[in-house]
């Protein structure tokens, strides 16, 4: 796939996620995808898809009131890579605003996301979710 198709794939992932369709987000990832969340926070690390799902569902989401609304602001695609600048809006169960800013870099091959690196305000993650 070219950069245009890759960008459409990633754009669609965000659309599905915004509808609450987690499978639409995860389904675009290869079974052996690597998800890297930068830093040393409670959700950081280089994760397999299963570990990523665990971090999302068992670590982050239980601390969030409702859902995290992720809004992609800008897509930049070249070759196998799609970078997305994203802002998030949510509230923790403790009532704290958790509005993070992200840059997510997707590497795509064979029509699937092989690698996702997520850069975000790690200090804010720890402030919201603890260590």
């Amino acid at each position: 796939m070219g950069a245009v198709e890759n960008k459409a794939l990633v754009r669609n992932m965000f659309t599905e996620l915004s509808k609450g369709n987690a499978e639409g987000w995860l389904g675009a990832m290869a079974d052996d995808a690597r998800i890297i969340i930068t830093g040393t926070t409670i959700v950081s690390g280089t994760h397999s898809k299963a570990e990523y799902i665990n971090k999302a569902y068992n670590v982050a989401m239980p601390q969030i009131e409702g859902t995290v609304v992720l809004t992609p602001d800008n897509f930049i695609a070249e070759g196998d890579f799609v970078a997305v600048q994203v802002h998030g809006k949510s509230t923790t169960k403790a009532g704290k605003p958790y509005n993070n800013t992200y840059c997510m870099v997707f590497r795509i091959a064979n029509g699937k996301v092989q690698e996702l690196t997520e850069y975000s305000d790690t200090e804010l993650i720890t402030a919201a979710f603890g260590k």
Partner: protein, 131 residues
């Protein structure tokens, strides 16, 4: 300029930075370039102007033992944007390792870098440099 030319410009900037040539790094930036450093760290915020950016970089120098080495790993260019994934390797003046991970998004306008967004492990910044 095309995406390929923009990418070449950014690649050259990092080559100049690696040589310790701050002026060379800053040369392709517009006089009113806007830099945003993610988060709420002591270095975070939005700064306007090439001279402001130069002062910021010069103020950082004494915080390090020797030179901070920034290695660009990936360049992703499309339209007016160039995204760079980087890793840094350095030691602080107080002999602490400071190896951050960065994603930089450069926006070009009229052949100059007009806007820079810097994503980095903010928690590491505060751990190493304090508030």
């Amino acid at each position: 300029m095309s995406a390929a030319e923009n990418k070449q410009t950014i690649q050259t900037m990092y080559v100049e930075l690696a040589k310790g040539n701050l002026r060379g790094y800053l040369a392709p930036m517009a006089d009113d370039v806007r830099l945003t450093i993610l988060g709420a760290t002591r270095f975070s915020g939005t700064f306007t102007g090439k001279t402001t950016y130069e002062k910021l970089l010069r103020d950082l120098t004494p915080l390090f033992d020797g030179r901070a080495i920034l290695t660009p790993d990936t360049f992703i260019a499309e339209g007016d944007y160039v995204v760079v994934q980087l890793h840094g390797q350095s030691t602080t003046a107080t002999r602490k390792p400071y190896n951050n991970t960065y994603c930089m998004v450069f926006r070009f306008a009229s052949g100059k870098v007009q806007e820079i967004m810097e994503y980095l492990d903010t928690e590491l910044v505060t751990t190493v440099f304090g508030r």
